[in-house]
């Protein structure tokens, strides 16, 4: 009888595991045939992002833009910034979900590094993911281009992060957090009416993305004579009641919040409003998610432009809607540009290598990419550190009564 029970138990456990596996496999989507090694006939790239988890909405937008770019590229459709004369090497993408989790991104990095066909990687989305997974990609000789990682230190070779990542491996097509902090504070001072002597509460989520960003913003506000109450609430501690009461009691004119969980921004602002907070709210790009953060009146900064405001992009935005059955939240637009730089680099490397490509040649070719224009209407080329040359700035959005994000200050 005991044996029967034990066998029954094992069968139940295996059944649950099998069901779980089938769901997981179903969620990962279609499989693709991949060449055994780097190829100029069909080049393989990794496309990473948080396709599930707290930032899934943003990650799926990124994946959709990457996929749309690849379909445009492979079918020979006109692409802003890509000259007709450029030989397009067909691309195939391996999607990898990082869940905005550094440990998962490290695992993903190992998988991509071990796949000999992969020549370049799009990602990682989060700064902390680059810190965790970037060194692994580097050891595999892989260059990678992020469409959303904004931490300033990633491209600063004098910092530990930048020392490892910024030597020709990590690239990004978005501005860094120094720009974000500065834009947000300027917006608060010039547009939200925050002035010398006013009280402002600044809140980070006690993690690598938000702490330096809020530190910078607090410092800039302090220099402007604003009284700053600097707070730090771990993302895992989801009760903001006491902080909300404190902000109301100290008559804070504004709350500046940085974090990567949009639902936390939603809860905090709702608790603030319930306690009678009438000041302004501004939060950073990590909270940019129109499905989870929808409190009307809030301001959010984003590295991405509102793609709907760029007329030349209208046909591509329409194609996006048609292909994916939904409009873009604009968060993923820079990922199109990131994949475009990778596609150009592969073409350059294949041409220079007379039909042969290696990870090293593809990575070095990233520095030769020079887009005269791009989907976001701006030229793109990389500095030695991996940052974009010239000035891309942050856009400020405001949430409307219907929960829709509208750009109120262009970047």
């Amino acid at each position: 009888m005991k044996k029967v029970r034990a066998i029954l138990g094992v069968i139940i456990v295996l059944g649950v595991a099998a069901a779980a596996t089938s769901v997981a496999v179903a969620k990962t989507g279609k499989t693709v045939r991949i060449a055994a090694g780097p190829s100029c006939k069909l080049a393989t790239i990794g496309v990473t992002g948080p396709f599930t988890g707290p930032a899934a909405s943003a990650g799926i937008d990124q994946r959709n833009w990457a996929d749309l770019f690849i379909s445009y590229w492979n079918s020979g459709k006109p692409i802003p910034g890509t000259p007709k004369s450029l030989k397009r090497i067909p691309l195939v993408a391996i999607h990898a979900d990082t869940q905005l989790n550094p440990q998962v991104s490290a695992t993903v990095a190992v998988q991509l590094r071990s796949n000999p066909a992969v020549v370049l990687v799009n990602g990682f989305s989060g700064s902390q993911e680059n810190v965790a997974g970037g060194p692994i990609l580097r050891r595999g000789g892989l260059g990678f281009v992020s469409g959303s990682a904004t931490r300033a230190s990633l491209t600063n070779p004098t910092t530990p992060d930048g020392h490892v990542l910024s030597n020709g491996y990590f690239h990004r097509v978005v501005p860094n957090d120094n720009a974000q902090g500065s834009v947000d504070v300027t917006f608060m001072l010039k547009k939200l009416g925050i002035k010398k002597g006013d009280q402002v509460m600044t809140v980070d989520q006690a993690e690598a993305y938000s702490v330096p960003l809020i530190s910078l913003m607090s410092s800039l506000l302090g220099k402007a004579g604003v009284k700053v109450d600097r707070e730090s609430q771990p993302a895992t501690q989801t009760d903001f009641t006491s902080l909300a009461q404190k902000a109301v009691a100290e008559h804070a004119k504004a709350v500046a919040f940085a974090g990567q969980v949009a639902s936390n921004a939603q809860l905090f602002l709702q608790q603030l409003k319930a306690d009678g907070f009438t000041g302004k709210w501004i939060s950073t790009d990590g909270t940019f998610d129109d499905t989870k953060f929808t409190v009307p009146g809030a301001y959010i900064s984003s590295f991405s432009l509102d793609i709907h405001t760029i007329k030349s992009a209208a046909p591509i935005v329409a194609a996006f809607k048609k292909k994916f059955g939904q409009d873009t939240i604009s968060f993923g637009v820079p990922t199109w540009v990131a994949v475009q730089t990778m596609a150009h680099a592969i073409s350059i490397a294949c041409t220079a290598g007379h039909g042969h490509i290696t990870r090293t040649s593809a990575r070095l070719a990233l520095d030769k990419v020079n887009l005269k224009t791009s989907l976001i209407g701006r030229p793109i080329a990389f500095q030695k550190t991996g940052d974009v040359r010239g000035g891309i700035s942050f856009t400020i959005f405001q949430i409307g009564g219907n929960g829709k994000y509208t750009a109120v200050q262009a970047g």
């Binding site: 909405s57 009641t241 639902s263 939603q266 009678g276």
Partner: protein, 325 residues
């Protein structure tokens, strides 16, 4: 209070009664959630001397069950039943679901080890294994994206809008959380002290083997303990969602760590101790944020708790275990 202001540290608003009471209510509410969950840890430890680390995940599953009931009944903004009934249905479903899950965990992950007289470390590892399994399964089946109860949409926001009673500012949602916890605590206390199964639980908690020799069906007591403790955890999950909105696969793990601490500080094995420990941590967190800085909340909370344990190693309401010679 004026003396404190003279010290120059506190802001004037921090020394008003209304602010003090605000923090008190916030701390009591949060502490009630911790306490409700801590009871589950304490009950199981009391009977089996087992640290049931899977209890946090039972809390999480309860929160998800409540969420799915909420969605099935139209969501927070437009429920198809009256709000009071909605909350009762959510609690009932979550308590039954979590209770059954707790019993299943005991049956398949702990009892075989208990029967085999495995070393004490074995069920501990088994508990951790169940905890991680449930987290992963929740991630796969429910997704890792945060689900929102949206309590601010319930009854047009009236439940979350504070009202005043003199200097006291409190919302109906806070009242619901505190009173519901008090109600469950009272029912549990009656159950443990006034019923036959309660007496059996106390006997088993004192000495499992002796209780068995006295004719008590120990397996039945253990199953009942797991059901009740898990049901309370499930109720805690729903109230956590109603108060703090967000549900995600790791929600129980995070709250569970604090609740486990509460159970130890209150005196593990003691039901009132678990509640006292939970409320103590909730109040400490709230006052740390309100009067110092959110950045130091864990430092303050855990320093105080270490101090308490140094002074009373058995916890606030714990009693030293009798030494059997």
């Amino acid at each position: 209070m004026h003396a404190l202001q003279l010290l120059g540290y506190f802001q004037s608003y921090q020394l008003t009664w209304s602010y003090l009471l605000d923090q008190l209510v916030a701390g009591l509410t949060l502490g009630s959630l911790y306490g409700l969950m801590a009871i589950g840890y304490s009950m199981v430890y009391g009977v089996l001397k087992l640290l049931n680390f899977a209890h946090g995940e039972v809390f999480m599953i309860g929160a998800y069950i409540g969420y799915f009931v909420l969605v099935a009944l139209g969501g927070a903004a437009a429920p198809v039943v009256p709000v009071a009934l909605l909350i009762i249905l959510m609690l009932a479903a979550a308590m039954i679901g979590a209770g059954v899950l707790g019993v299943a965990i005991e049956r398949f992950a702990y009892r075989p080890l208990r029967k085999a007289r495995a070393p004490r470390i074995a069920p501990l590892i088994s508990a951790l294994g169940v905890s991680f399994c449930l987290q992963q399964l929740a991630s796969i089946f429910f997704g890792t994206a945060y689900k929102q109860y949206n309590p601010f949409g319930l009854s047009g926001g009236t439940l979350t809008t504070p009202w005043h009673l003199g200097s006291l500012e409190v919302s109906w949602m806070q009242v619901i959380v505190i009173l519901t916890t008090a109600f469950f605590m009272l029912v549990l206390w009656q159950l443990v002290t006034r019923t036959q199964i309660g007496r059996a639980m106390r006997a088993a908690s004192f000495d499992l083997e002796a209780a068995s020799m006295m004719g008590i069906d120990v397996d039945k007591v253990v199953v009942f303990t797991f059901f009740v403790g898990s049901a309370l955890g499930g109720a805690g999950g729903v109230m956590n969602g109603l108060y703090l909105s967000n549900v995600f696969p790791l929600v129980g793990f995070n709250v569970g760590l604090i609740a486990f601490t509460a159970a130890v500080v209150g005196g593990i094995g003691s039901i009132p101790g678990a509640m006292v420990g939970g409320i103590a941590i909730g109040l400490l967190q709230s006052f740390a944020i309100g009067y110092w800085s959110s950045a130091y909340q864990d430092v303050i909370v855990f320093c105080v708790l270490i101090l308490v344990l140094l002074i009373r190693p058995t916890g606030i309401l714990g009693v030293p275990a009798p030494q059997k010679v």
